[in-house]
């Protein structure tokens, strides 16, 4: 299991990055409160990291949120024409920034990491529940859309020094 402080740090970084890059304001939410994912087309975006620690950070979010994110980051109105490549590129970049900021917050400025390119896949309902059952996650509502964030630190690679964290 991932340290509780790490998940708190992840939540702080997610809020900060969404606010600063896209002027979107995540609100903490609980899946047990009846948030429905049934009618949403969900995407999982993941970055793995290695170096002074190993693990991965993921975002699970609906395509509508990807569109909103892209529009806000680029300062454009959401177009009538679907440009999924553009939406997904924006989400990949957001996750890239989240991961970079999180690693500095958890491990300090001296730690060195190599980040993978973001990997993306569509999730059906079964895959969604299977994914969140296996990982520590937090849930936010951004606008009206649910956004799940997960963090995995591999056993044996993690030595939490508290550097950079609260």
């Amino acid at each position: 299991m991932t340290d509780h402080n790490c998940m708190e740090s992840l939540n702080e970084v997610v809020s900060k990055v969404f606010e600063q890059t896209a002027f979107l304001f995540p609100e903490p939410a609980n899946l047990a409160d009846g948030i429905s994912f049934d009618d949403l087309e969900l995407f999982l975006v993941t970055i793995t990291f290695s170096g002074d620690a190993e693990g991965d950070v993921s975002l699970i979010l609906p395509i509508e949120m990807c569109r909103e994110l892209s529009s806000n980051i680029l300062g454009e109105d959401a177009g009538e024409t679907e440009d999924r490549e553009k939406y997904i590129d924006a989400v990949k970049e957001i996750l890239n920034i989240i991961t970079g900021q999180l690693l500095t917050k958890l491990f300090g400025h001296k730690a060195l990491f190599n980040l993978s390119a973001p990997q993306i896949m569509e999730l059906n309902r079964e895959e969604f529940f299977s994914t969140i059952e296996q990982k520590d996650y937090s849930c936010h509502l951004i606008e009206q859309y649910p956004v799940i964030t997960t963090l995995t630190l591999r056993t044996g690679s993690y030595e939490h020094t508290g550097a950079g964290s609260r």
Partner: protein
């Protein structure tokens, strides 16, 4: 003097944001070139006069560090100013990049003001801000 600037990032989103940011500044810009990785950047540098390179580090095909190393070995490119714009916050990495001749480092997320201030400093541009 109008400048030619090369933006190197595998993310179209970031290239688009930086292009918009540059156009919003008071900098006189002749042309903005874009490349999706270090290899494309080198091809662009061989065929065009560029005054400043803004590059990411983590990119497929050829990374930003590989691009910087290649430029350092090229007599015509070794003195071309390079600004790295990356998510990497490691002081160790930033120190290594400065040792390789990188002039400045901007961490994502960035503000347009930060980008403008640093580019002005590197290109030694002064604006009348009154």
């Amino acid at each position: 003097m109008a400048f030619n600037i090369l933006i190197v990032d595998d993310s179209k989103t970031i290239r688009s944001i930086l292009t918009k940011t540059l156009k919003m500044t008071k900098l006189e810009i002749n042309q903005i070139f874009e490349a999706g990785n270090g290899k494309e950047a080198l091809e662009c540098l061989q065929g065009n006069w560029i005054d400043l390179v803004l590059t990411d580090l983590n990119m497929p095909v050829m990374t930003g560090i590989e691009l910087i190393n290649s430029m350092a070995q090229d007599g015509l490119l070794k003195d071309l100013p390079v600004i790295v714009i990356s998510t990497d916050g490691s002081a160790t990495r930033i120190g290594e990049l400065k040792d390789k001749g990188v002039r400045e480092y901007i961490r994502k997320p960035f503000t347009p003001e930060t980008v403008e201030e640093i580019i002005d400093k590197i290109l030694e541009v002064t604006h009348d801000r009154s």
